[in-house]
């Protein structure tokens, strides 16, 4: 795992932990938050592609 991937994972974990604590849950929804980040990254790449093909 490179640094960029580690930072992304850390970001997802931070959000997931904060949400679990806010909900009083002992379970961390890591996969859900990683999927949210992937949705954002997908939209970012699509926007770049659309701009390049105009």
């Amino acid at each position: 795992m490179n640094i960029e991937q580690a930072k992304t994972l850390a970001s997802a974990l931070t959000i997931a932990i904060a949400q679990a604590e806010a909900n009083g849950s002992s379970q961390v929804a890591l996969q859900y938050h990683l999927q949210q980040l992937d949705d954002q990254a997908r939209a970012e790449l699509q926007a770049a592609i659309d701009a390049a093909t105009k």
């Binding site: 960029e4 994972l9 996969q31 997908r42 790449l45 770049a48 592609i49 701009a51 390049a52």
Partner: protein, 122 residues
């Protein structure tokens, strides 16, 4: 020792030798199964986390390269499609809490193709 006392003694010995009733064992077994199931779900998420973050970073890097005119839109479209394939496979990988090795292999094959495309970019 009289017969009555002997009978009572025998009855007590038989009672002590009886196997414990099922309800005493069942709750412990259920707690152990719940703990294992919870641990298994956590392990699967953890095992696929590295692959998921790699897909996210690949999309972000491709977006930066396209914006910097260092990657063609065609190549970026191929990366987007491969990342979608990896993502679909990873979504499948932890269903039921048990790691699906074939789904992970499919995701990694897509990632390998993404890496090849990224390396071909000047």
């Amino acid at each position: 020792m009289n017969a009555g006392l002997l009978l009572v003694s025998l009855a007590l010995l038989v009672g002590c030798a009886a196997a414990p009733s099922a309800p005493l064992q069942a709750p412990k077994a259920r707690v152990q199964l719940d703990a294992v199931a919870t641990l298994s779900v956590g392990d699967c998420d953890t095992q696929t986390a590295a692959d998921e973050t790699a897909v996210i970073v690949a999309r972000r890097n491709a977006a930066a390269l396209v914006r910097g005119a260092r990657m063609s839109a065609d190549t970026a479209l191929r990366i987007q499609a491969l990342a979608d394939t990896a993502r679909t496979a990873l979504n499948r990988a932890c269903r039921g809490g048990k790691l699906d090795a074939s789904a992970v292999a499919e995701a990694r094959a897509a990632r390998a193709q993404i890496n090849t495309l990224m390396r071909s970019t000047p």
